[in-house]
């Protein structure tokens, strides 16, 4: 089924790569027009598309290997970019820390206009109340007594996932490596919530924290339910992360980076399995997305439109869903190919190829062309 955007809508797909940002637009999620590169030779590890308040703001985490990290935003679909003079994210002097990379940009719910969260390296969470132009460091997590025991994953030590309850004050953060932390008071205090998640690579495989979670996402239709793709292990919690249980049965592999959930429908999530820790390729070199419609009890293999052979991996933020009906599913590979599905993963179509490594993908239905 082809879902056309209305005359006043456009599908936007922002593609962050290791060497710049590309923006794709489409009226129907079938045919895409690309612009770019924006920020040539800077990596774009994080993107947020904020469609609240009657405007479309694209926020990007930019990191030049030479000139460092920053956050920029565009309110005109990439025609112009603005970067706050003093930097949107800047560690306070008393921390002695310096921003290395912005891993996550997460616009909050529509009921909290202007609020945007960010996750960064070194492990930190930030909150903006002015649409992402200036962020404040979350001191509760920064000063957490576990900090000295958190480690760095291969890509660095970062808070890479932020999930905010749209109706309450619960916030979940996932970090590599440290695991999942939960705040019940809008970020003032944090507790580890990893019971049931294995850390097989540690002397104690079931620690309170230290798990290598790769991505978490909330079920939009079931309060207290979240999903986690771990460094080996796919999990679900139904009690707001108090306990987790494996939902990996039925998947060809329990390793991977991606975890997506449906924007509205209960029980629907997507993963992109990779063979293993030591062989980070799609199982048998065959790229496929897997979707569950029953909260992980069963999984459906989806590969229509994907290549017969693919040996590149898909990174944790190189996948996204849009809010259309049916939901669109998008992902990009480290080989620089980007795929879009307009039917929740049943079929995919190539949007772009031969780009640099895809680090981040975000999609949205926006007003205007």
């Amino acid at each position: 089924m082809v879902r056309m955007a209305t005359a006043s809508e456009t599908f936007v797909l922002a593609i962050g790569t290791k060497k710049g940002l590309w923006l794709a637009t489409s009226p129907d999620r079938q045919d895409w027009s690309l612009t770019g590169p924006h920020f040539l030779m800077a990596e774009i590890p994080s993107i947020g598309i904020d469609t609240r308040e009657g405007r479309t703001r694209i926020l990007v985490g930019v990191r030049s290997p030479h000139w460092g990290p920053t956050v920029a935003h565009s309110d005109d679909l990439g025609a112009t970019w603005t970067e706050p003079e003093q930097g949107a994210i800047r560690f306070p002097a008393d921390t002695g820390a310096a921003l290395e990379r912005v891993w996550q940009i997460y616009p909050d719910a529509g009921s909290r206009p202007g609020v945007v969260w960010a996750g960064a390296e070194p492990i930190s969470v930030w909150k903006s109340t002015d649409g992402g132009e200036h962020f404040e460091l979350n001191r509760g997590l920064w000063d957490h007594p576990h900090r000295s025991e958190w480690g760095a994953g291969y890509g660095g030590a970062a808070a890479h996932s932020i999930v905010v309850d749209p109706a309450g004050e619960t916030v979940h953060v996932a970090m590599s490596t440290g695991g999942v932390y939960r705040s019940l008071d809008a970020g003032a205090s944090w507790e580890p919530r990893n019971k049931g998640i294995s850390a097989y690579f540690m002397p104690d495989p079931n620690p309170e924290f230290g798990q290598c979670v790769h991505k978490i996402a909330a079920d939009a239709g079931a309060a207290g339910r979240l999903y986690a793709q771990n460094h080996h292990g796919v999990y679900r919690t139904d009690d707001n992360a108090d306990t987790w249980k494996s939902i990996a049965e039925g998947l060809p592999a329990d390793f991977g980076f991606v975890m997506l959930t449906h924007p509205r429908r209960e029980g629907t999530a997507w993963v992109v399995p990779l063979k293993a820790d030591g062989e980070r390729i799609p199982p048998d070199g065959k790229l496929a997305v897997h979707r569950t419609d029953d909260a992980g009890n069963t999984w459906k293999h989806l590969s229509a439109g994907l290549p017969d052979h693919e040996y590149n991996s898909v990174l944790r933020d190189a996948a996204s869903v849009d809010t259309a009906e049916p939901a669109g599913v998008y992902f990009g590979t480290r080989g620089g190919t980007v795929y879009a599905s307009a039917d929740e993963g049943e079929t995919f179509r190539e949007v772009a190829s031969h780009l640099p490594d895809v680090l981040c993908v975000r999609a949205a239905v926006v007003a205007g062309a």
Binding site: S64, H66, W67, G68, G87, A98, L99
Partner: protein, 106 residues
């Protein structure tokens, strides 16, 4: 660029800061910035003066702790400051400060 060490009492040559082309848009398109100084100043205070006038340029050169970014090199009269006294390296009026990015990346 404003005087980096206070009021001038007699004419002295400026400190000259040369920028690579990639950074020039952040300095209003200028390839050369000049800083009046009435005596030796540190590289840190010179970069403070740069950041006061061109904040984004300042952030490209140093992080928020004041450290020079890893792949940014600054030379004073041809000597890389990391081999001198780092950010505390003295620059005297008339000397030339050169910013060059490392040959790094892939």
């Amino acid at each position: 660029m404003s005087c980096v060490s206070g009021r001038q009492w007699w004419p002295v040559p400026d400190i000259v800061l040369l920028l690579p082309s990639v950074l020039q848009p952040l300095a209003g398109g200028q390839s050369v910035l000049t800083a009046p100084a009435d005596g030796p100043v540190t590289v840190a205070s010179l970069l403070d003066a740069v950041a006061a006038e061109y904040a984004v340029l300042g952030r490209r050169l140093r992080d928020e702790t004041g450290s020079l970014r890893r792949f940014v090199n600054i030379y004073v009269d041809g000597n890389e400051v990391r081999r001198l006294q780092g950010m505390e390296t003295q620059v005297s009026p008339g000397q030339e400060v050169l910013v060059i990015q490392s040959v790094a990346g892939g």
